[in-house]
């Protein structure tokens, strides 16, 4: 009798823990935003957006893009490409809007963090 009750209580406690875990998981699991830097489709590096930094990505064609991170956002501050589309894109802070430099094969995409749009027209 006592041992039966014991096991029932154990099971109940396990159930309770699982429910709490499931309930809290969405709140605990929100990773900080990070940006994936890809060159010609290959993932070069993943950059956390929580601390300021600046670095240059060289492309196989001899070009380069200077990438800046600040205040949870990322931008291409300078580039060797002719049209400067990537530079004109400006600061990007959420997933849904990639920064693309076609001539240099560079694609920057934010993962995690706030997803306010699924796609960017324009």
């Amino acid at each position: 009798m006592k041992s039966n009750q014991f096991w029932v209580w154990i099971l109940a406690a396990l159930l309770l823990l699982c429910s709490l875990w499931a309930a809290l998981l969405p709140l605990l699991g929100k990773a900080g935003a990070a940006a994936e830097i890809r060159q010609d489709g290959m993932l070069l590096r993943t950059v956390a957006l929580d601390k300021p930094q600046e670095f240059t990505v060289d492309s196989p064609n001899g070009g380069s893009n200077t990438v800046c991170v600040r205040d949870g956002r990322i931008c291409v501050s300078a580039a060797t490409c002719p049209d400067q589309v990537c530079v004109r894109q400006g600061w990007v802070g959420s997933s849904g809007t990639p920064i693309v430099c076609l001539p240099n094969g560079l694609v920057i995409q934010i993962k995690g963090g706030e997803q306010d749009i699924d796609a960017a027209a324009g």
Partner: protein, 340 residues
Amino acid sequence: MSRLLRRLGPAVLFVCLLLTGCRPAPIQQDSQFTAMDTFIHLTAYGTEAPSALDRVRDDILYLESLLNVTDETSEVYAINHRQTNTVALSSDVADLLSLSLGLARETQGCFDPTVYPVVRTWGFTTGDYHRPTPTELAGLLPLVGYRNAALAGQSLTLKEGMQLDFGGIAKGWAGDRAAQSLRANGITSAILRLGGNIQTIGTKPDGTPWKVGIQDPEGGQTLATVSVADLAVVTSGSYQRHFTLDGQDYHHLIDPETGCPADSGLISVTIVGPSGARCDALSTALFVMGLDRGGQFWQEHRDFEAVFLSKDGTITITPGLEGNFTLTRDFSSRVVEVLK
């Protein structure tokens, strides 16, 4: 032992019943690659998604090989460098040309697939930017005109010197084909990003619509969002492709009548509708038309919705977007007018 089971049994059964509420999230599949001079990012859900997206990628690459105006092996290049003025087209190019000529007629030439001699001279497809002189334009404009393209089945006759370019409709058309292919392969939830040409299938797996951002012309910020399901969203804007010469800015949306960048008072036009090709062509046409004429065109057709961003900062939307056009926080003070 049996007493233990009798006590535990209901508890275990209860747990099992709870677990039946768990459903695994549908598998998300992404495909990213460069084609049609832009970055393409396709997302689809479901077990069929990987093979379905592979088929779409293959089709997009195939279309690029057909339509790329600067690729010497493409069908369009062959048409533009033809020996005789009557050429046989593949069925795909014939379909696209037929669609394009129909849209040219409907927009009275504000969208025109024969404007290439002018676009090429400006340098927008080669990067060799150049401002044509009035004499040059006078020589080029007679070569532009959808009325001088005669398509009978797969046989095309062009006037001497005429050239085709599907840059203003190709991505939208590719998006339509992709959506059709995905649906045929059982995909009910997908979002296709062909650069800034957006096409959606169904809603997101959780049943909510896709949120598509419309870009602020001044930079990469999202100006506003529209929520869509099974619709395409395409923007044409002067900021997308342009060059500066002697302090003057020239953009790629050429007015086929003048041979010069359209000066219609608009910075961008976004079209929302069921067909990517139609949205693509109309976004160019209505940019060339300007707000008044573009608004009138909408009133006469009403089979799409539109967002006009004017140079003076005004935002004008068609009534179907009222309640579905949300300015983002940074732009919340902007004025939005609704067309009647």
